[in-house]
Symmetry: D2
Subunit: 407 residues, 4 copies
């Protein structure tokens, strides 16, 4: 058997984003060899680096395995080849060797041009439509769709760990901990919210019902009212709790203002659902003057889109809830389009769902009291997330205080 | 203002189930008074107790508040009055003062007979159909349905804490802890499974994908193959992971047998989904000889029903997944009908969903490595649950070992 | 064999403190029988209840087992017998049948008088000295000490769950949860601190190093400065971190104000320890003008006692740390004497230690981000504790804000 | 101001241990510049790499800051200078600029030879005694001791991530997770134990009382009996629980075999302590034939050293417990000397203590049901640890099963 070699290259923040480490690691793990043909390390923090390697495998197949593996770190052959396309044999069936996407910015070489893939999401295939390429979920594949197979002609831009001091994402990287200075982190998140809005960015909140239980609903409502939020993604529970709180003062029958139990408070949850069904929807409830405060009131008033995705555990659910998950995913994606920052609060389900839909360059802040939840979310591929292990009921009011001071 | 009094009574395991404590507590919390007119305490463990009280409030309204409150502990007036019915004003809208159900066995006084309510579930209303009464979710209410309002003529049987030594539910009550003798608990769960089946009972498993990650899929498959399981409730993730494991040996690209990473293993997840879409469904995959082991293979082979409920975070999802939550809830309920025991493994979402659908006399075992998850589930009203904080990958094989020894 | 019976009685908050339930439960669990001879239930919240029972066992030994068991709920024979005493056979050895104490108020019948035991603590024996009785740890037993054996003549006052609305301990009982309204809980704790001080009570803080990491050191320092705190119990780590923070601005080398890393910051921890050794002690450091802020600065300035108990994991430890645990326990007890309220913050080790030393009528507040930690502490017998699952770095500043508003 | 430059070099597993990444990162974070003068990357997994850099700072002081920082990654000047020594001004006081050690292997240049430092531990200073250099804790410093200051002439060997497939430490690196195949991990740990012993290595167990609560004491006892363990480090609680279990069958009064409560079981804990005090010590109890099984029985029988370190929360403590922490730390270190592998089970306190005493090349396995505990331990600098989030009561018996199969 004869050894096979190939010249490959990659550029970007190779050092601080640990890309070089991963590339060397993967080659050696596969039993391959490499020679560094060229290495330019960016001197300044924001400078890009470049490396050209000669990778050698035991034979053609072995070499292929190695280059497959490092492909996902952004490494491509020096001699570029165009993508290969194959037709979907049936509706909802991809060709066997379909290229499975990452959540990283992806470029494809087609007609001698590098074209950026649109709707970047994880674990999808890439379909050509006209001159554009799109990430498409399996259920939307139509028979005959032209789908990229193999990874030839595909270039991934692995996430670059940013380093400029102005934003919170740098000082902690992807780690999460409950042993960080809370005040400072709240301040940084506040700064980041303000700066993102100043720069014309779009901020989406993904939230769970603990926001209401812990008394932080008014903080979220205030963020929306003040114009910082461009969309709310949640499930049935957040909406029911928020409206129960806004209309009856309780969350599952417990008064949020003093934690006492309401008389026949166990009925409040179902009463709230019934109240929304009576008028027909949350926006109608606002129009009818029956909902006058809270997260969803502010959404309706400010005309901020919200999407409530159903789940198997829902009571009701409210008429506004989308019970079909295929449709709900589409509506989530619409709201997330071009988001600059997503703040995920106390909901593993909707946070993971949202994380799967986001390209890796969107800033993500995850706030939850449970460290394993924060860790799990980041392990699921949303590793650009900033994990904050804190008590939502204390942390969100702190953000509001800082925002007020900064204005 | 004149004081108002009423004679009320309740019977059952008043002492060990702490019902008496709660009744006295609630009367005093509302500022009421009471006199014990009669008290018979069961001497033997299984004997029932009985108490008759004269409850006194400051006025009629106050007395009503008190009796409302103790009603949920099973206390009813000595002089019985029949239920009151009112019509649903619209589809999916209940009358204002609708009776909101608990998950406890409920009886209603109608035409001078006490009638047991069917399909007992939490947070529903009660509708009369012919001579039967049913718990009905709000989305299934039709205009004109006769719905019980108020709580007059309704009697609740609060859950009785069983005490005979043969089953595991007694030795721990509802508490959960990671500091219990694991071997012993596994043995008790094994005994309970065997006894439940001997008694002709129905056992349902509710499971999450950690079953596969931790290497416990073969244990669950063996339980099904051996005839202990009568239904599996899950989501898309468990099915995809189980089939990936059965066909490719990996879970999200990691070999379960030795935790090594498969070549291009990141594709395995999507490849599995594509493989099912190709043949059309999980049962078809079994018939085509392409799925030969695992949880869902055994379900198909043994003709055990399984329901996969979609969620907003699904990849794919598989063709077998029900994406509309309203339908998925109905299918879950069908499988849960007349269940004697439900084993919930590493999935908060589906466990809470299932808990909400179960009457309080069904045995529930919750196994999860996270204590807060176990606590949260029990706080949500499924308080008859036995919480086991353990590592699913080590605990399930232990159950299998004990079952084999016992046979 | 002839059945044996005995008349027993107990009074107190039998219903709301669930004492009656536990007594009935224990008799039945042991296979005994009982007849209710008298039962008076207090009508008002603060009224005491009384019950007289005739307990019957299969024989004298069986009856003894039963009465032993209910003894710990405060039940005593109607016909009172005096205590029995026996001598310690050696230093540090108790007589075989020594009475092992609970943390509940305990009374002993001696010379026809009921005498209250002093220094009430859990898991100790009771020694008579003159006319007084003391809880004494095993290491302090001297040969010949007169020690109570058996449980005859000993009466326990099981903890009474208080119910008046003015203090936080009622609204939550002993449960802990991260899903409570944080703002409200912080306000209640603030009220309780103020009221305890107004009533002349003594408040002790037990704290761990996360106070400094999370940026809450200034909040604790402010509580001390404002005169709310009467003692601080901690270990080496809190002191080193607090002084590192006060002198260098960092906690383990990370600036608390902005979470950036100090130059050669890894040295700051050891540098701080060296700095204290140089002057000789924390108080000398304050006198020398080298420590000018922080928790321990305020303690020295206000002349508030603090005790630092060593542990096997200490770096250094500081000269102020008591490295012998037998001595450290004594010093902790001195500070805890007559405490009305103990606030435990982010330290399982010192919190459990302190919990073991406290009689059950002392108010305990436990604040930690980890629910299992809070649960574990309460399971260890300190069940009167109020558990708060929150982020110390956000929660303590919230308490300070509420205290300022209230003044 | 004139720029200053220095040639520096480092060798080792620069790529896979991410040393190169950290070095580049640190230089750039400090605003420095660098040029790669030489870079040789090891091709095979075990090959070492080498890099020579020209580092440039704005001025001499800036350059010093940069080289200080990268020093801890093992980088040293190409032109070697000898160490500088300074005298301790007082007992227990180090010179101001003392060199603060890491837990990594450290070499010092003295009399033109590179000498390896002995007793390598974290956060100590280095003292010369004759021709040897020792890590010395602050409390052992004597006035006049010659202590290394600055970091000139000191070379650190940062921990090298091993990569050969035979041991478990590779497949997971330092990460911990509850979502790994438990069976496989148990098998790997079993293999590692066997191989370590075959290679003549020394294995130490560090354990907490949950070992007994969860029913795993017999597994640990069997490991000791079979000759796999060379030392046990624990506190009072593990010993008391183990002896209570061995003599009375209970752990805190609960029978471990069936989780039932013993009669007067609350006395068992103190009874056990009293029983040991009666005979005088654990070894005497074994000799007297009163302790016949369990962890500490096996230690005594096999003449395996055990050290029990006291803590502020101890009951008793047992006569075998060392109550002075300064002494206890010394005894721990004696047992840990030349250990090859340390297995830490369910005890944060003793695990962190032990972690602080270990050089970074010792294999560490941490088993705990709480992910935050595992994470915290690794964050504390013991980052070479393999974290296993599992249920000790199920995981340890699994290890025993695998060891039996392998023999």
């Amino acid at each position: 058997m004869k050894k096979h070699s190939q010249e490959v290259e990659v550029s970007g923040h190779l050092i601080d984003s640990m890309i070089l480490t991963k590339v060397f690691d993967k080659i050696m793990n596969r039993g391959g060899e490499f020679e560094i043909l060229d290495l330019k390390v960016g001197i300044k923090k924001k400078d890009s680096s470049y490396v050209k390697l000669l990778v050698t495998g035991k034979d053609a197949k072995h070499l292929q395995e190695i280059t497959d593996d490092i492909h996902r770190e952004g490494v491509i052959p020096v001699i570029e080849k165009p993508i290969k396309l194959q037709k979907a044999p049936k509706d909802m069936v991809m060709p066997d060797n379909f290229y499975s996407t990452t959540n990283n910015e992806t470029w494809v070489l087609h007609n001698k041009k590098w074209i950026k893939v649109k709707n970047q999401m994880m674990d999808k295939c890439i379909v050509i439509k006209g001159n554009d390429f799109f990430c498409v979920p399996i259920r939307d594949i139509k028979k005959g769709d032209q789908i990229i197979v193999d990874d030839i002609g595909v270039k991934v831009n692995p996430p670059q760990r940013p380093r400029d001091e102005a934003n919170i994402f740098e000082f902690m990287g992807s780690s999460s901990s409950s042993e960080r200075p809370t005040q400072h982190i709240a301040k940084k998140v506040a700064q980041d919210i303000i700066q993102t809005k100043k720069a014309g960015g779009k901020i989406i909140i993904v939230g769970g019902p603990a926001i209401v239980h812990t008394g932080a609903a008014s903080s979220v409502a205030e963020l929306i009212k003040s114009g910082y939020i461009d969309g709310v993604l949640a499930g049935n529970a957040l909406a029911v709790h928020d409206i129960e709180n806004a209309t009856l003062g309780t969350s599952l029958g417990m008064y949020v203002k003093d934690a006492s139990l309401a008389k026949r408070g166990y009925r409040n949850h179902m009463d709230t659902i019934n109240a929304v069904f009576k008028v027909g929807s949350i926006p109608k409830m606002v129009k009818a003057g029956k909902l006058k405060s809270g997260i969803f009131y502010e959404c309706v008033k400010k005309n901020i889109p919200f999407v409530l995705a159903g789940s198997i555990r829902d009571d009701g659910p409210l008429p506004d809830v989308i019970t079909d998950m295929t449709i709900a995913q589409r509506e989530y994606k619409k709201v997330l389009k071009d988001a600059s920052m997503v703040i995920m609060i106390s909901t593993m389900l909707h946070s993971i769902a949202t994380g799967n839909m986001l390209p890796s360059n969107v800033k993500v802040v995850v706030i939850d009291i449970s460290q394993p939840t924060v860790t799990k979310l980041m392990d699921r591929g949303t590793w650009q997330a900033l994990g904050i292990v804190s008590d939502v009921g204390a942390f969100l009011p702190m953000i509001i205080q800082h925002i007020k001071k900064m204005k």
